[in-house]
Symmetry: C2
Subunit: 192 residues, 2 copies
Amino acid sequence: MARWAPGASDRLQRAAMELFAEDGFEATTVAAIAERAGVTERTFFRYFTDKREVLFAGEEEFEGVFVDAIAAAPEGTSLNGLLVAALDAGGRVLQDLRGRDFARARNDIITANEQLQERELLKLAKLSRAVTAALVARGAGQVPARLAGDLVVSVFGAAFARWVAPGETRDLVELQRDGLAAVSELTPVEAG
Amino acid sequence: MARWAPGASDRLQRAAMELFAEDGFEATTVAAIAERAGVTERTFFRYFTDKREVLFAGEEEFEGVFVDAIAAAPEGTSLNGLLVAALDAGGRVLQDLRGRDFARARNDIITANEQLQERELLKLAKLSRAVTAALVARGAGQVPARLAGDLVVSVFGAAFARWVAPGETRDLVELQRDGLAAVSELTPVEAG
């Protein structure tokens, strides 16, 4: 696909992020994004449905990282072990492939726009359902799998918010482990 | 307000729910809802912005039940105790004031329509933030409060789905307690 425009997708994404940061999401047009990336609008639409979707590119691949980690865990891994594996894999990919600066810039754009926040919410709800389905496929019951899917998204979201906060230097994976430990203190432990 | 049309809000809500169930949400008009309720369209718009909002009437009061339970808990209540108080209060109000049949009918309508599912998702995200804010007001740290807000919504959502399932007879509050116990098994307990 698009042999004549190598790296066009990356360039379009970088151009869009720059323009969203400079002019705001609302004021940025597809024409301006294409121009800054040095491609035509037609090329833009070869990669993205609209300007909003530039910010959600790679959504399915990201979801796949969580799902694959669950599927690849050794047989007999506990439900707790599966959700830790999913969180570790997702956190690691985000910080290694995207990086904190990209995540911060994207987060600033999304936080400034209600419509984008709603879109992000849908993405996370979808992630929760995908994790739930992957856990059910590993033999988990529907109820614990659903709660675990929500928990993965909640712990990821809380850790992500800390990770992109100004001045934060800790690892995303470490912040997620920390969040999971915080949840264990929120829930009553049954008397033995 | 509306002294000349006593119970109009309730009648409109009942009429809307009937029509949504009979004809589907999309095909139902405000005119048809008003007609079945025996009021004018003007009266409809005195109570609701649009037909979608009929399904989300009482949203703020419901949120207030969780928030008030947290605010009213005895001094020194643990974060775990506060979230249990919120869940118990919310679950009890839903089953006592609305009832399972109403909740089932509403759930069927929402499940059949993607736009309504997204609206429901926004409602639950708002509930999570309200619970978080109430917990912070009780002295909880930002991170545990956020995780607890998500947990309340997750446990409520999972228990609600069981509660409205065909043939289910258990209490919503009991199902929530059960869900919370399931979450405690998902999270690692620190070695002492």
